[in-house]
């Protein structure tokens, strides 16, 4: 089944969007870059950036993966001039991927106004070149990478929205798609259940080790991945939240454990490990849901299924976010932000399979160009912070290229 008229990229991947990324390389260039995005008056010009002044291997690898994401067709880098980010290295990597890229250095351009003018002109040239280079090709489900995340979870998430995503994941995996669920810090307590689904004994061992590592890390931080709203929504413990989150993964074998910036090496189901295997250095592994969405995108996710009982409103730059709530009260109150009403399961008005089918159909429609609600509302959130996490985990991380 052809699901989209995709954008062919030089590395063989196909995009469902043709985003022009405007990337600030330090917080000091953020204002100029934001103005450039505003003035471009183009919904497919998205703002990305890294706030830190000092170089960080993780940030550089992440930015390279994101700037060369299948949904991105070109980039304009906005540098202050004196920051530590390797702007030449990033520009070279983007150019080598077959994408047009330009760099504006504010200190060389003459300041704020001159920098904005120079970067707006660069956006125009890069967009024109993207149009010229664009090659549209038929896209199938086997070309699609889908991530899933939960945020603002409550007692309904694990009963309605998450298992419905699990049903959709099973259908997508069966159709040859690549599906990624996150994340090791939110699977603490599920290690036994997951090990039985691992495709090989090596993957089972890697999962067990990654979860043990996540538990050690969060113990050192003093708090698990558990927000006050989770308790207000009826969740009592981290492992209860984990059990509810885990059902997003569906029932198919787990083909591998991946880390941020690592693309799965084939179709099937993968677990994303986001927890460093060092002592805590830069803080929590992910400070908010968008940090996890960004890591899913760095592994190639074309779109993200986001389940939220309490009612998150976020979207994302680069890859559309589809929001699914299992709480009928949240849907009634915040329907303007919710793509899928899984609360029908709570009320006995629909089965998990029916809602799973709705999610599957919506994935196909959004891959084909239909906007998700957060996309239409203009949500383009993006967070990237400091982190230390190796590209490869302590155990072998099977299923990674």
């Amino acid at each position: 089944m052809i699901i989209a008229d995709g954008y062919a990229r030089a590395d063989g991947r196909k995009g469902i969007r043709d985003v022009l990324a405007v990337i600030y390389l330090v917080e000091c260039a953020h204002h100029v870059a934001r103005r450039v995005v505003e003035q471009s008056n183009d919904a497919d010009v998205h703002l990305l950036g890294f706030p830190g002044c000092y170089p960080n291997d993780y940030a550089l690898r992440m930015m390279k993966a994101l700037a060369t994401h299948a949904n991105v067709g070109g980039a304009v880098l906005v540098s202050l001039g004196c920051e530590g980010f390797d702007r030449e290295g990033l520009a070279a990597q983007i150019a080598a991927s077959g994408r047009p890229v330009e760099t504006v250095v504010i200190q060389q351009a003459g300041g704020t106004r001159s920098g904005i003018d120079a970067a707006v002109a660069a956006v125009g040239r890069v967009r024109a070149e993207m149009r010229e280079r664009a090659r549209r090709v038929p896209m199938h489900l086997s070309d699609l990478v889908i991530g899933t995340i939960c945020g603002g979870s409550d007692g309904t998430s694990g009963i309605a929205a998450n298992p419905a995503v699990g049903r959709a994941f099973d259908r997508l995996v069966d159709a040859g798609a690549t599906c990624i669920f996150e994340e090791t810090g939110e699977m603490i307590g599920c290690e036994g259940a997951m090990a039985t689904r691992a495709a090989t004994p090596e993957i089972a061992r890697a999962i067990d080790q990654a979860i043990a590592n996540a538990e050690t890390y969060y113990r050192a931080m003093g708090y698990g991945s558990f927000a006050p709203g989770n308790a207000e929504g009826g969740l009592s413990t981290l492992e209860e939240k984990s059990a509810g989150a885990y059902v997003k993964s569906g029932s198919r074998p787990i083909n591998g454990l991946i880390r941020p910036t690592q693309a799965p090496d084939g179709p099937g189901l993968y677990l994303l490990d986001v927890v460093p295997d060092t002592a805590p250095k830069f803080g929590f592994p992910n400070i908010a849901d968008n940090a996890e969405i960004v890591e899913l995108m760095s592994c190639g996710a074309h779109l993200t299924l986001f389940t939220t009982g309490r009612g998150s409103v976020v979207g994302s730059a680069i890859a559309p976010v589809v929001k699914i709530t299992g709480n009928p009260e949240t849907y009634a109150r915040m329907g303007e932000d919710m793509d899928i009403d899984a609360g029908r399961v709570m009320l006995g008005e629909a089965t998990l399979d029916q809602v799973g089918d709705d999610i599957f159909d919506l994935v196909v429609a959004i891959a084909g160009g239909a906007p998700s609600k957060s996309e239409a509302l203009g949500h383009r959130e993006f967070i990237l912070g400091y982190k230390t996490i190796d590209a490869v985990g302590p155990a072998c991380h099977p299923g990674v290229r």
Partner: protein, 100 residues
């Protein structure tokens, strides 16, 4: 779909999850324990014991251990931070940290 006010997710469970807000005195009408009545008001998505859970026993939901009871919990009672705790890492609320 039954008229039960709470869902039992797996056979081994000792807690059920409320499908809507439930008032004290309402019969939960769940198949596994037809006579259990809500002992207090229960909110949508929150857990209710439908079997007696002695202090120290494992609280089971999805067929998986989700923590331990810190007090005896009678059938029909709300199960939350006041009478159970994590076996892994402490939970925290806006007001305080709930120590395991």
């Amino acid at each position: 779909m039954t008229g039960a006010l709470a869902i039992v997710l797996a056979p081994a469970d000792n807690v059920a999850v409320c499908r809507r807000n439930v008032a004290a005195g309402e019969p939960l009408a769940i198949e596994a324990a037809p006579t259990v009545v809500a002992r207090e008001n229960l909110a949508l998505g929150h857990k209710v014991a439908f079997r007696f859970i002695p202090s120290g026993a494992t609280v089971v939901k999805y067929g998986m251990a989700i923590g331990s009871a810190t007090a005896d919990i009678p059938p029909g009672a709300w199960v939350h931070l006041h009478n159970m705790r994590s076996n892994y890492i402490s939970s925290h609320t806006r007001a305080s940290k709930v120590d395991p």
